[in-house]
Amino acid sequence: MTQRMTRRCLLAATAATLTFASLGSLSSCGGGDGGSTTQTGGGGGSGDTIKIGSLQSTTGDTSTFGQSSNKGILLAAEEQNAQGGILGKKIDIVQADDQSQASQVRQAVLKLIEQDHVCAILGEVASGRTAAAAPDCQRNKIPLLSPASTRNDITDLGDYIFRSCFTDAQQGKWIADFAAQNLHLTRAAIFTDSQNPYSEGLSKVIDKEFTAAGGAIVIHENYAGGNQDFQSQLTNIRAADPQLVFLPGYYTDIVKILPQARKLGLNVPFIGGDGWDSDVTLKQGGDAVNGCYYTNHYAPDDPNPRVQAFVKKFQQKYDGETPDAMAVLGYDAANILFAAIQRADSTDGRDIREALAKTTNFPGVTGNITIDANRNAKKPGVVLEIDNGKLKMVARVGESAASAPAH
């Protein structure tokens, strides 16, 4: 019986502790900011700083995306603050991490809006997480400017949702046109990561545009990102005997797919999009990735003085690290937003939104950027070739869409 009594006591004690602990913590959650919420338009201008949120995946699967993007944004803010900030106030970048999980985005966005009272948010890189952030920004009238979400319908999610990068529709067309017109190839295979909406969306555009440009897709194969063995599919592709393979996937799979393709004797060029952009592609791809192409937002070896100036500043701040595409996109997005706040002469979300929508020919590192009526960016891109383990810019694309960057 004593055993039962001790059990009861233990039970009672733990129940009490747990209940109080959780109740206490819940109310401490609510206590700090209860009552002061959902005012529209944001109040990021209170005090002598302007608070801007940066919603990024600094931990988790795609932590490199978020970290690079943040580096670019912080560099932009530092420069701006050195020039006296905007509207006479210093810029305060408030970072929020969503751990690379869409399910954590809402928590992070609400924290930025309700607890930190930011006036605008930069982010996310991944399209799925930008979409997850959109409704709360839209509802609270806080502009959301994504530096790198290329999925087509992201900006349809509300009139407070912007992007400063090109879309998959643009990129797909560039890839298809480059293959058909610059490489003069006509028989192509498409190899799609069927679970990755980016890859799936891009594949559709490439399919359409390549056929329109006179090419033929001889086989369409799928893979699941994260798998290790792709030889079955590559054998099927080999059997169709294409002249090139469109591979619009992520670099993590690229470095596994290409060596296996070469082993099977599939020695044709592979062409992809900005998902290839990572130093991992070069380091781990080795010989297998030589002779492949991909479209990207910028090329670090671009002789354009704007690019070179940025690369130099970035390297000074971050121990000689070469900025990747995410870093430069973050930098451009931040500067576009700063300029918009300056023009709006206000930190109210609605005013910033109006000003952002009127962005024309903004001189970004990645080219001149114009925000169109659908809140998408019109801007150029580049095609890179992997040549003996090095990246080489082989073409500049989409310049007709925006005015050419000054040389």
């Binding site: 699941a224 596994k256 082993k263």
Partner: protein
């Protein structure tokens, strides 16, 4: 025709890897009636130990991290991985499973899941040491093996036209290692005293103890042997795909379990055959253009086997002792 043959070869290669892991699964299950969920992660640890041993040797030899490794280096790294994983297997059994041997099966099963997650997430934390990155979620590159100018991941007879049959050195290494391990294991279990004791423990735990068999020692040995085999699989996996992450053991581990069930869990040749069958099925699923459902197909097969013949192809339906 060549393509069909090529698919068969692909399936065989992948299936051999499953078989290699399945051997360890089935052995532990045979002796302890425990699904050692952590087995796939021991496999992963093996891949990492192999990779870092290679790098260490390369550094000592004054070579670059990612320079091609010689066969001797590869053999050394495999040995190191086997030792390390054997120790890891022993530790897992000693610390996590042994205290629960008298508790319910559910308790050990839940613990096994815990151990598996622990290894996966512990190794996802990046460490920096002397400017080198260790572990972490970003893929780690494994140097390839080369003899002279021939690299193991290339086709053995270089292919000029795109219709030839391609077999790489790594493919041969995988087949060879699986066959060798299978034979070795079969020999140990069938023809040695320890093997006899293992079989005795698997038939009747208490009776085996009464016969003077040192149960703890036999179970430890089983874990060490199974983990060392997983290490062999892991290191070869590293050679084959040359890019390893802390989560690489999850899917192969599950597939290996399915392979073990197909062959009849507890049955050693069954595990090998199950692995090959599963590899071939996956290759054909891909051949018919359903590659995105490869994993789903494996689990469907599992459910089908459980429905139609839960004891597996080679297993016998043994009623539980009351």
């Amino acid at each position: 025709m060549t393509d069909l043959l090529q698919q068969l070869l692909n399936g065989l290669a992948v299936g051999s890897t499953y078989a290699l892991i399945a051997l360890g699964y089935t052995m532990v299950y045979g002796v302890l009636r425990l699904i050692n969920f952590a087995h796939g992660d021991v496999f992963m640890v093996g891949a990492f130990v192999g990779c870092y041993t290679t790098r260490f040797i390369q550094q000592r030899l004054g070579l670059s991290d990612v320079a091609d490794q010689s066969v001797a280096t590869a053999a050394l790294s495999m040995l190191a991985a086997m030792l390390a994983c054997g120790a890891l297997g022993y530790a897992i059994e000693r610390l996590c499973y042994r205290p629960l041997r008298k508790a319910s099966r559910l308790a050990s099963l839940i613990t096994a899941i815990g151990v598996s997650l622990f290894l996966e997430y512990l190794l996802q934390i990046e460490w920096h040491f002397h400017g080198n990155r260790f572990f972490g979620p970003t893929p780690t590159a494994v140097p390839k093996i080369a003899i002279g100018r021939y690299e193991f991941d290339q086709a053995i007879l270089s292919i000029k036209n795109a219709t030839g049959l391609s077999v790489s050195g790594n493919d041969l290494l995988t087949f060879g290692a699986t066959l060798f391990c299978l034979a070795l294991l079969f020999y140990i279990v069938r023809f040695t005293r320890t093997g006899k004791a293992m079989r005795a423990v698997s038939v009747n735990y208490d009776a085996a103890r009464l016969m003077g068999i040192h149960i703890d020692r036999i179970i430890s040995f089983t874990f060490i042997l199974g983990s060392a085999l997983a290490a062999v699989g892991g290191v070869i996996y590293g050679f084959r795909y040359r890019s390893i992450t802390p989560l690489l053991g999850v899917i192969p581990g599950l597939k290996a379990f399915i392979a073990a069930v197909i062959g009849g869990i507890g049955n050693i040749p069954g595990a090998a055959v199950g692995g090959i069958i599963l590899g071939l099925v996956e290759a054909f699923v891909a051949y018919f253009g359903w590659s995105e459902y490869q994993d789903a197909a494996a689990f469907l097969i599992l459910i089908l086997v459980l429905l139609v013949r839960p004891e597996g192809i080679f297993g016998k339906a043994v009623p539980e002792k009351v």
